[in-house]
């Protein structure tokens, strides 16, 4: 394994101890921090909602849940947590709740230079725009206080997304204005399961404000309860069908943004689709070009070929990167989708289908690997291509993949010997081996 990671000269170890700055090699566009405790979060909740719902019996008001749950084959009720609970901090708390441990796992073990934080944990309050607006403020307040400012971000590796409501475009723009100019908030952020495509006039005030502050707009699916999980033909039953269905949510948003002429109105705007896949970008470009050639008279505001618009304005995060059986299927489809311009690396840490940076880098051809691992994101977010050395650069990277192999071998040996119940560690299978 250690040998494979160094094929083609790509390595997670990139620093020289003498230099004061370090070139950025890996930007992870999808990291999900969570609070250690409910109290850590609700202290940031605006009134009157904090007193009304999050004072007495606050645990009775569900903030999160698992629907279309990845019941993983590793056994037990692990939910979104990964195999063996790889992200669980040693001092307690859920995976993704300890800033220093997260920084160690991503920035040291995986060589990640910048982490873009997209909070997911708190499901929107869909039934009340006013509450949802306050809810988004709470998430942003919490992210700023616990992750982006102060000691947690003393290294400056963490950046954040400004969560805005999908129910009210004006209110979404106001929340964006509250944070625009903050050095660590680098994008506005809508839930993908909005039930309304982002090119719809409802979102115009948000698109305008996002463009005015020269920020990208990102989206991420949320695994919703209720009507927003419905497909055009009803509710699927199982995770294995729902996960691939979600790519069509992103395809719909991209199609809407292109044909509504959003990028003609906001030429500096970029859109980042996170966790919606990148393998379908090429077929979508071909399809939208063919549609536009024949039906473009209906949308005269769209002046350029959809594929050109997508190359310039749309970005797609890689996780969960598919593993098709055909040799080079993945690389060729990505290349046809203009990966060297349109695709950005993401890991989805700390979730069950996390893609380690070194593994993703191994899937990409050398010609555009660095663009996907870092350059495209640096350009999209306007982040510096060099960063100061910090204490994380001086921590020794363990070879986590070799350790994982050793742990798995011992877990399997314990199962064979019938002694697995006597250990604290669950038997586990790495999904990316």
């Amino acid at each position: 394994m250690a040998q494979r990671e160094h094929e083609d000269g790509w390595s997670i170890v990139s620093t020289s101890e003498q230099q004061a700055t370090v070139p950025v090699r890996v930007v992870d566009c999808d990291v999900h921090p969570v609070p250690k405790t409910l109290d850590e979060f609700v202290e940031h909740y605006p009134e009157p909602f904090r007193s009304r719902y999050f004072s007495r019996y606050k645990e009775d008001v569900p903030l999160s849940f698992l629907l279309y749950t990845p019941h993983s084959n590793t056994g037990g009720n692990q939910g979104m947590g990964g195999p063996g609970g790889y992200a669980a901090p040693p001092n307690g708390g859920g995976g993704g709740s300890d800033p220093d441990f997260l920084a160690q796992q991503l920035c040291v073990d995986n060589g990640t230079d910048y982490c873009i934080m997209n909070p997911l944990n708190f499901r929107p309050r869909h039934w009340d725009p006013e509450w949802d607006v306050a809810h988004c403020s709470a998430v942003n307040n919490w992210l700023a206080a616990n992750w982006l400012e102060g000691n947690a971000n003393r290294h400056g590796r963490f950046f954040g997304a400004i969560l805005v409501t999908s129910l009210d475009g004006e209110a979404a723009a106001r929340e964006l204005e509250r944070w625009a100019g903050h050095p660590a908030f680098v994008q506005s952020y809508l839930i993908a399961d909005s039930h309304v495509a982002f090119g719809n006039p409802r979102f115009e005030p948000l698109l305008k404000a996002t463009s005015r502050h020269n920020l990208p707009l990102a989206t991420h699916l949320y695994r919703h309860a209720g009507i927003r999980s419905m497909t055009p033909v009803g509710f699927p039953s199982y995770h294995v069908e729902t996960l691939p269905n979600w790519i069509f949510t992103y395809i719909s948003h991209v199609t809407s943004l292109v044909f509504e002429g959003v990028f003609e109105r906001y030429p500096n705007l970029k859109f980042v689709g996170v966790e919606g896949g990148c393998e379908w970008v090429a077929p979508l470009m071909w399809r939208l070009d063919r549609q536009w050639e024949r039906l473009g008279a209906e949308v005269p505001r769209v002046k350029r070929r959809p594929s050109e618009i997508i190359r310039e304005h749309l970005r797609f995060a890689t996780q969960p990167l598919c593993e098709p059986r055909g040799p080079k299927d993945l690389a060729r489809y990505m290349e046809w989708g203009a990966a060297a311009e349109t695709m950005v690396f993401s890991s989805d840490y700390p979730h069950y289908d996390y893609d380690p940076a070194a593994w993703v880098a191994q899937q990409l051809p050398a010609e555009w690997r660095d663009r996907v691992m870092a350059q495209n994101a640096l350009e999209t977010y306007g982040l510096p291509a060099e960063r100061p050395r910090d204490h994380l650069d001086d921590m020794k990277a363990p070879n986590f993949r070799i350790e994982a192999g050793v742990r798995r071998d011992s877990a399997l040996a314990a199962i064979r010997a019938g002694t697995s119940a006597s250990t604290n560690e669950k038997p586990w299978i790495e999904s990316v081996d």
């Binding site: 084959n73 039953s237 719909s252 199609t255 071909w286 969960p320 289908d353």
Partner: protein
């Protein structure tokens, strides 16, 4: 090879007028109101290209047509058999499978089934008796009435020219779910493939995309085919294909361009979360060749002028095995055989224009003694 007559699996004949349906309805359904057969949502612009939903050639021009039960001045595009036959002949098509679209998802189950019966009787009494071209038919059934659908399949099970079951793409549940199982059992027993096609009319369908209602036709046109995947994934995940190894399903609107990336994602998740679906015995993509086909169309796929790209894409997506030809006549987007993947070689194109469909419908044709092509 190139001289083999083309087998067209998707011709959409229409009744002569909105009211011809009354010729084939019985009491009490004859006493009910029937909306226009045109799709209500997201209409095709009529004053700018492409100038409406239908090919100009398919629009009637004063034809008056008599059947055994009525005489009508043809009004609906695609309703005059002679026009359809002329178009198909001109394009080298020897056999065509009729797949009529009906009136949308009808809220009342019995009325929905009555409409299906009316269209099936109409097909058999008119188009399937037209001997100018080799027409085969589709038994339209109402999935919202599974018992009625099974009865309708049984009514036509021995008809030599009925070669598939037709159901709408629109549905209130993904088709793998158990509400529908008895319909698929009856279809598999009769060796009838299932054709799934977006419906016309005015009905109680949900929104056509994952993000609700599009604002424009171009957006609708770009996205509505993607609904196929929810049904396909459902057939696999619910174990329908493990129960019914004979079941064959064709997506008559296309959508094939999105298949490879979405199946890769399903394959990726299956080893991790198959705990939930232990009855699914094979990797999801292993069900494709045996159970699914897609009608090729001109609104998707790599650019025609890049033959090397078309060939590589076809190889990586298994297009030569999974696509079949269907003109889509009388829609404006109807595809002539020459327009389908011109970058492929003659043998590959022959598979798509003829061979694949011949195999796909072969069991049914053999069972009824009919011969196609």
């Amino acid at each position: 090879m190139a001289d083999e007559p083309v087998l067209d699996t998707a011709v959409h004949p229409r009744m002569l007028t909105n009211h011809q349906i009354y010729d084939y309805l019985e009491h009490p359904f004859k006493g009910l109101v029937y909306n226009s057969p045109n799709r209500f949502f997201h209409p095709v612009p009529t004053g700018i290209p492409p100038y409406g939903e239908w090919l100009e050639q398919s629009r009637p021009d004063g034809e008056i047509i008599s059947t055994e039960v009525g005489t009508h001045a043809a009004r609906e595009p695609g309703s005059v058999p002679a026009r359809t036959t002329a178009y198909l002949r001109e394009n080298g098509i020897g056999t065509a499978i009729l797949l009529p679209t009906l009136r949308g998802l009808v809220p009342a189950a019995d009325q929905g089934s009555a409409i299906c019966r009316a269209y099936n009787d109409w097909q058999a009494a008119t188009w399937l008796k037209d001997d100018d071209l080799d027409y085969l038919g589709s038994v339209r059934v109402n999935p919202m009435d599974p018992d009625g659908a099974v009865a309708e399949i049984e009514r036509w099970a021995d008809h030599p020219r009925m070669v598939q079951i037709g159901v709408p793409m629109e549905a209130h549940h993904p088709y793998g779910q158990r509400y529908f199982l008895k319909i698929w059992e009856a279809a598999a027993a009769a060796r009838l493939p299932i054709a799934i096609k977006a419906e016309g009319g005015v009905g109680v369908e949900y929104f056509p995309t994952m993000t609700g209602l599009p604002r424009t036709h171009i957006e609708f046109s770009s996205l509505h085919r993607d609904r196929f995947f929810v049904h396909l994934a459902s057939f696999i995940a619910e174990g329908v294909l493990d129960r019914l190894p004979e079941l064959r399903i064709v997506f008559s609107d296309g959508g094939f361009d999105a298949l490879a990336p979405s199946m890769w994602r399903m394959d990726m998740d299956w080893p991790i979360t198959r705990t939930e679906v232990p009855w699914v015995r094979r990797l999801p993509s292993d069900y494709l060749r045996e159970h699914f086909r897609f009608v090729a169309n001109v609104l998707e796929g790599p650019p025609d002028d890049d033959a090397a790209l078309v060939q590589e894409w076809a190889q990586r997506s298994d297009a030569v095995n999974l696509l079949i030809y269907g003109s889509g006549y009388p829609l404006w987007s109807a595809a002539r055989p020459a327009e389908i993947l011109p970058g492929l070689d003659a043998a590959e194109r022959s598979r798509i224009l003829h061979g694949n469909a011949q195999e796909w419908y072969g069991a049914r044709l053999a069972a009824t003694g009919a011969v196609a092509g």
